[in-house]
Amino acid sequence: MSDNPASLAHLHSRTFLLPQEDIDTDQIIPARFLTTTTQDGLGKLAFHDWRYDEDGKARDDCALNTLDTGEFAILVAGRNFGCGSSREHAPWALHDFGVRAVISSEIADIFRSNAAKNNIVPILAPPHSHAWLLEHEGVEVKIDLERQYVDLGNGPGFHFEIEPFAKHCLIEGTDPLGFLLSHSDDITAYEACSA
């Protein structure tokens, strides 16, 4: 167990669904909002064009507008979530919106890497568990990151893979830059012999 208060070692929450496949980063946060120079407060822009009409009015028919992510912090998405751009604004927006884990049968590379750096656990589910989750909106899910296991209650729970260092950082709150900088001497030596 970790002493880190922000640790995602154990996450209990309910799911909300975005079943569409190939949800790209332009859906997660449209490019026209990328002129920001900070990373704060982007949650209101998450899925902007799904949530608001042309005049900026919240759409009544969009469930995301009434979602309480305090209770529903786990996003279950269709295959290949987060494809497209490398913009870290996507996980910043999702985290600020309240998302703490994304479960899909496929998650795009750069998004997966960016998510783990921003306290969102990216989880690849096997097809039958993914299909079950897509049929059971709002179920209570227990994610045990230490054991790499997702407990779905009555549903087909599953083990998932996560890059060990990303797992370590998520649980312990370790800062990867600190780890990288601890190699300064190696980097200097490399530069000396490749110059």
């Binding site: 449209p30 900070t38 042309e54 290949n80 497209g84 590379d109 260092f165 980097i187």
Partner: protein, 475 residues
């Protein structure tokens, strides 16, 4: 763990091995050295803030190169006047990079530089991108630079901070995938058509977790601009990077460029670069082969880049709810021929297709013709260099005489951040790389195509096979 000399290695293996500061272990990723870090205004400000908050300095400003491209206006403005930014936020973002670059001694090709351009056009043009290098940028189309036999990939802003602070990244070695395109494509079939066909074959996530090496006669026959077009779109199949072995075409293109090695250093570099090609017998995790002669001019029908079909084809039946949603968004009916669809706007530009050869292909179609009534056509060169070259060749005159708008360089309608965009419901034929919902403006419908196909759409007002407009002399 260094492989012994007799193990055949791929181009990717060789570049990867040469940049290992620290090999990966079961617990930790390896430390990969980065030779060239490109930055732009959109994905860098938070990284500089993170560094400042920790009191860290940029380790190698001399290996960092900045430009402004995404939020910059493409409209003309007079010297001494402020650029006509679309929003105050865009202006502040550019100014932030100007300050960050100056205070960290990072060379910036900003306003006034004759090398300003879309980051992936600028790097190669300067000769900053070289074979065998590792190149990163906070931008998913960084794979473009792989056309030179570099390992080039996109990173998030946290990692931009890592590279600024340490000139390294924590990485595990991706898988490898070789795409071999045999034979030669027919008349009017360009690099863009080849890569759209490759992505249609692989699928939008078919390259996930992989570095692609493009090989085969059709790839070797491409000029550097065409190779950049192919590598550029690797991410649209989910791949981390795309690479092509450097050869005489590469060396000839690079020679004499501003930052390329000179004199004896050049000869030494060419000798080194000539060793980079994959060894015979090098192993790939996966291989696919395609036949270039079967590829026709391609256009996309859906809202993901893997929905390319041949221009003579029909919009396919929806295979899933997501496909149906894409058809509804695009206002296409399954089974309809895609050619003949009415077009509202045409965009010729982006880091996929804004180089001089792209503009020549578009100009060839537009020469002596008029943009169809009611169609707006934007031609946006990738850099100041491309713009000057095009003007020296008189291409701008061809575009302007046809009724197209000849703009200043930038990302423009590729990402629609700077005020250039499609309106809701408009159909845009675009030489860029992404047709996601809303990418070119809320509600805008994007059809991806080659420069020739885009130009043909401009002058006919319809999605049109460019081969029908080509001079018989070019048969």
């Amino acid at each position: 763990m260094s492989p012994d000399d007799s193990t055949p290695r791929s181009l990717f293996d060789k570049v990867w091995d040469a940049h290992q500061v620290k090999a990966e272990t079961a617990e930790t990723p390896g430390v990969l050295y980065i030779d060239l870090h490109l930055i732009h205004e959109v994905t860098s400000p938070q990284a500089f803030s993170a560094l400042a908050a920790r009191g860290l300095k940029v380790r190698r400003p001399d290996r960092t190169l900045a430009t402004i491209d995404h939020s910059t206006p493409t409209l003309d403005f007079k010297a001494g006047e402020a650029p006509p930014y679309a929003t105050r936020a865009a202006q502040l973002q550019v100014e932030r990079l100007e300050v960050n670059a100056a205070s960290n001694s990072i060379p910036l090709h900003g306003w006034g530089s004759e090398y300003r351009g879309v980051v992936h056009v600028m790097g190669p043009e300067l000769g900053a991108t070289q074979p065998g290098m590792t190149v990163v940028c906070g931008d998913s189309h960084t794979a473009t630079h792989g056309a030179f036999g570099a390992l080039a990939f996109g990173i998030g802003t946290t990692e931009v901070g890592h590279v600024l602070a340490s000139q390294c990244l924590l990485q595990r070695k991706p898988k490898s995938l070789r795409v071999t395109v045999n034979g030669r494509p027919g008349r009017g079939v360009s690099a863009k058509d080849i890569v759209l066909a490759i992505i249609a074959r692989l699928g939008i996530d078919g390259g996930t977790g992989s570095v692609i090496e493009y090989a085969g006669e059709a790839i070797e026959a491409l000029d550097m601009e065409g190779r950049m077009t192919v590598c550029n779109m690797s991410i649209e199949a989910g791949a981390r990077a795309g690479m092509i072995a450097p050869d005489e075409t590469t060396f000839a293109w690079l020679k004499g460029r501003k930052l390329a090695p000179k004199g004896a250093a050049w000869d030494e570099a060419v000798t080194r670069w000539s060793q980079l090609a994959s060894d015979p017998g090098a192993r790939f995790d996966r291989e696919i082969e395609m036949d270039a002669s079967e590829i026709a001019p391609m256009v996309t029908w859906g809202t993901a880049p893997d929905t390319g079909i041949s221009i003579g084809g029909h919009v396919p039946d929806a295979r899933s709810a997501s496909h149906q949603k894409a058809l509804d968004y695009m206002q296409f009916e399954a089974g309809q021929p895609i050619a003949g669809t009415k077009v509202n706007q045409v965009f010729i530009g982006s880091c996929t297709n804004s180089r001089i050869t792209d503009l020549r292909q578009a100009a060839e179609i537009m020469r002596g013709r008029q943009v169809a009534p009611g169609v707006r056509a934007l031609v946006v060169p990738g850099s100041v260099q491309v713009r000057q070259q095009a003007e020296a060749e008189g291409l701008d005159q061809i575009f302007v005489a046809a009724g197209a708008q000849w703009r200043q360089p930038g990302c423009s309608m590729c990402i629609a951040m700077n005020g250039d965009r499609g309106e809701a419901g408009e159909l845009v034929v675009s030489t860029s790389n992404r047709n996601f919902e809303g990418r070119q403006g809320p509600g805008a419908r994007t059809v991806l195509a080659s420069p020739a196909t885009a130009a043909a759409a401009a002058v006919t007002g319809l999605i049109t096979d460019p081969r029908s407009l080509m001079e018989p002399a070019h048969v």
